[in-house]
């Protein structure tokens, strides 16, 4: 059931111009006290490509379905295209491609486009105009008059994308749009998403293909166990996690931890308390590292067998360390600037920082699961 508090209404007015979607306190509790969403706060700017990530059962589809009124929320404050969440009138300006969509088998591709556009109240003339153009855009013009039952999965996906655009939407919600599409089709879809952004449309993407999201998304949100654990541009989420990694050899063997620690001890300042957990260069694999202190500028230094990791975005900060290593006769094998990928961020988000293991997937029952986040 949608709950629109006075605060929500104020938000709707306040942010309707800036945000395509602005959500606060969105929650969903299913029967049996299963908490699918636990107070989602999320913003999607107009004209951007926004990616929603999360493991299976994180609540991504639930959130999308609440936006599209397919399911009701337990509570949902906020707006979509200037209308309160749950308001059907906003849906005329939204295009949607569900994840496991199933179009009527007896319709042809052109009829699918026409039917769903009519359901979005698009007048007949506009439907005809757009249908030909979009079928051409998704490469399905030759198949337009063939029944959907004869389509491959990729073809159905292409028709699905075309139908999502038939009402010339301001907001396009695509759930796994490249599912079943071949590499050429995926590239075409990426190009199309960029075109949509260039036309000023907002794209809300829900996908598991992190590398693809990274290529097209302006901003992302990571959803874990019904909560948004991080949200922002990929730059915002990754810049402060950048680091340099130095690989050093002692003779022909990787330098041992003690050798490396002793070599850089002269450039380290007083030891600070351990900070937040770091992104591992090998996501999902526990690499033992030791925090050996910080440089003069406060940049933390970690050591493992054969390598040092320095948390800084500045190349200059690394130079004293390199000097110290050389002065001890160690061979610098490699210096790499490392910026975490979206996959690294994702893996970090779905890993329990205390145990290093992946969090239990799925919704939380009665407030359990992921309570530590």
């Amino acid at each position: 059931m949608q709950t629109m508090t006075p605060t929500g209404i104020e938000t709707a007015t306040e942010h309707s111009g800036d945000w395509a979607v602005h959500l606060t306190h969105v929650s969903k509790v299913y029967r049996g006290k299963v908490h699918a969403l636990r107070g989602i706060d999320m913003r999607v700017k107009r004209g951007e490509v926004f990616g929603l990530l999360g493991p299976n059962g994180a609540g991504k589809s639930t959130l999308v379905k609440i936006l599209l009124t397919v399911i009701s929320s337990t509570r949902a404050d906020g707006v979509m295209l200037g209308r309160p969440i749950g308001d059907k009138s906003a849906l005329a300006r939204v295009g949607y491609l569900p994840e496991h969509h199933r179009f009527p088998e007896y319709l042809t591709g052109a009829q699918v486009l026409d039917f769903y556009a009519a359901m979005s109240r698009v007048p007949r003339r506009q439907r005809r105009e757009r249908s030909g153009r979009l079928l051409d855009l998704v490469g399905m013009k030759d198949w337009a008059n063939k029944a959907v039952r004869g389509y491959s999965k990729g073809m159905r996906q292409r028709i699905g994308i075309a139908q999502a655009l038939m009402n010339d939407p301001e907001l396009v919600v695509l759930d796994e749009p490249t599912d079943g599409v071949d590499p050429v089709g995926r590239r075409d879809i990426r190009v199309m998403l960029q075109q949509l952004r260039d036309e000023g449309k907002t794209v809300f993407l829900n996908s598991h293909l992190l590398s693809e999201l990274e290529m097209v998304c302006d901003r992302v949100a990571i959803l874990v166990q019904g909560r948004v654990v991080s949200q922002g541009t990929i730059g915002e989420l990754t810049d402060h996690r950048k680091y340099y990694e130095i690989e050093a050899l002692a003779g022909s063997q990787p330098a041992q931890i003690e050798v490396l620690s002793n070599a850089v001890s002269g450039v380290l300042g007083p030891r600070a308390d351990p900070g937040p957990p770091l992104v591992s260069p090998h996501p999902g694999v526990a690499v033992p590292e030791t925090d050996i202190g910080a440089l003069a500028g406060g940049e933390r230094v970690f050591v493992r067998s054969g390598a040092l990791r320095i948390l800084t975005t500045e190349a200059a900060a690394v130079q004293p360390v390199l000097d110290a290593l050389r002065s001890r006769g160690l061979v610098i094998r490699a210096v790499r600037e490392y910026r975490p990928s979206l996959e690294d961020l994702f893996m970090e988000a779905v890993t329990d920082p205390t145990t290093g293991k992946a969090l239990v997937p799925g919704a939380a029952k009665d407030g359990k699961n992921g309570g530590g986040r």
Partner: protein
Amino acid sequence: MIQTWALLVDAYRELSAKRLFWITLILSGLVVAVFGAFGINSKGLTFLWWEFPLPLFNSDTVPPATFYKFVFANFGVPIWLAWVAGVLALISTASIIPDFIAGGAVELTLSKPISRVRLFLIKFVSGLLFVTLQVGLFTGACFVVIGFRGGSWEWGLWLAVPIVVLMFSYLFSVCALVGLLTRSTIAALLITLLVWFAVWIVNAGDAVMILQRETAIMDLESREKLLSQRLETARKQAEKTAAEGQTPVEPDKNPLVVFARGQVKEAEESVKTWTKWASIAFGIKTVLPKTGETVALLDRHLLSLEDRKKFRPETVQPDELEEEERPRRGRRGRVRVEERVDEVIRARSVWWVVGTSVAFEGVMLGLACLIFARRDF
């Protein structure tokens, strides 16, 4: 309006994609062909070039137009359209709601700017399209046959379309509700057929109770008549005896009168019992959809009671019956009881027949809309 039209066009596309739709249509065509092949002339019945002489059943006793209307209203509509085509229609349309709410299909439709209640109701109405098209085409063909073969252009025939669609809508409301609850086509179909069967049982029970009550009433009337005759005879005998100077037997104490009075009391008890059971059957029937009686409205409209009497095995007028004939005895008595049952059933108002059935349908649809509007998909 764009959305409503789109849903109706989609329903037509869905139906025309079903093989059963075309099979039913072809079968309907065959039924009409057989209907048109029958005829009636001054000698009796005809079928194509064959003649079946019937001295009591020919165009002199039954005009051709009445013959065709009777066949249409008593066989074409209630047997073919309401039963056979009705079952085929249910088989064809039982999947509409389960398919509509299937995962992957419903999300996209629900994400459109249309209220759920409206969406469900349009989907329900579109499910009636199958029957509407079938009945429309069948009636049109029969209209032409009666026009040319019977020499009468019966516009009243077209009433079959709303009547049969209305009757089917009662059942389809059950089908839609069960389909929504169970998401299963098989469950929707089987439960609807079960409800239909239950309705038929109640309907048959109601007819039996009316028959028994009317028989009992006629029995009572006959016994009361006998009692008054015997009283009269006893009174005359008493007067005669008194005139002869003997002590007369009081008419009330005459053994024949006492016996007849006992029989009247017995008949009164019987009337009471059957009236009670008929009321119970009527009560149960009131809350259920009246499929049979709804279809019978066409018969009411097309044929008067007088017309119907022409099709009785033996055309008998009540005054021709023997004075003391008991309703249970003989063909004449049965004919008279059947006529009374017909009268009782026909006396039930159209508003009662349609109103209570539509109320049942309203409850089914109301529940379905409530569930559909609140369910998460």
